[in-house]
């Protein structure tokens, strides 16, 4: 593992962020949008874990602690997002974000 550079890790998380960005911009289904946001968020969490692994002991554990908090936040976001999906589905009968033009529920 010693000869793996930081660049290769950053390249992976950059690729994941780009894929997530693409999904957020193009997909119309609300659940697909949530999945794209999760992919982009996982790219960010991955960065924290990389730099935690390449830093010293104390800084490294800080990075892992931040990543733990971020995983919890991402799970919370999915839960609220799905609640919005259910409310949208009941109100409009569709979860297409193009049809959700007013934010009244």
């Amino acid at each position: 593992m010693t000869d793996l550079s930081v660049a290769s890790f950053l390249f992976l998380s950059g690729a994941l962020l780009a894929i997530g960005l693409f999904g957020i911009l193009t997909r119309r289904n609300f659940i697909l949008l949530l999945i794209a946001v999760e992919i982009a968020m996982n790219a960010a969490i991955l960065n924290f874990v990389y730099f935690a692994a390449f830093a010293g002991t104390s800084q490294g554990l800080s990075g892992q602690a931040i990543a733990v908090v971020l995983v919890g936040l991402a799970a919370t976001e999915i839960a609220v997002g799905l609640a919005i999906v259910l409310a949208l589905n009941r109100q409009r009968g569709s979860i297409n974000v193009g049809e959700a033009t007013t934010l009244k529920l």
Binding site: T2, T26, S62, V71, I84
Partner: protein
């Protein structure tokens, strides 16, 4: 090339491939299954990076809970869960934006100093000390965010609201 390097390359390829497949296949249930594979491959990368606690957390929270929640969302919002999405083509502007973002990030990443030695620093006692002492306030904050999210989610989906 060491075993760990090969494992990283394989897991990274699986992660990128499944992330793309998840956003490009037309059946929503297949999307969720691909994204579950994506989460599992990321957890493998966490194990490679000497973060087994996070790897297990990723498996439990993402590959377990988030996947089931998404499947549940598909189940209650569709009459037939295997119906296909309307085909949405790859529109040029978002694709170009994603490619540009990717290229910029790759150039920045390539300009960083190479290679750095991996520090074998994992110790679950130290991690829990860091989590509950140094970052205790963050954990409390996360708990409050989760509590308000719970209340908000129940408010959004409750019956009989006009």
């Amino acid at each position: 090339m060491s075993v760990e390097e090969l494992a990283f390359l394989g897991l990274a390829a699986i992660a990128v491939g499944t992330a793309m497949l998840a956003l490009l296949v037309r059946e929503l249930v297949h999307t969720i299954l691909w994204v579950a594979v994506f989460f599992v491959s990321l957890s493998g990368i966490y194990f490679l990076l000497e973060a087994p606690f996070l790897g297990v957390l990723q498996l439990g929270v993402y590959a377990g809970a988030v996947t089931i929640l998404l499947l549940f969302g598909v189940m209650v919002t569709r009459k037939r869960i295997f119906s296909k999405e309307v085909a949405t083509g790859i529109s040029p502007f978002p694709f170009a934006l994603a490619v540009v973002a990717m290229v910029v990030l790759a150039v920045v990443a390539a300009s960083l100093p190479v290679p750095v030695t991996l520090v074998r620093s994992y110790d679950v006692t130290l991690l829990s000390t860091a989590l509950f002492q140094q970052y205790g306030a963050w954990l409390v904050l996360l708990g409050m965010v989760m509590l308000s999210a719970l209340a908000g989610a129940i408010y959004l989906v409750r019956e009989g609201r006009e």
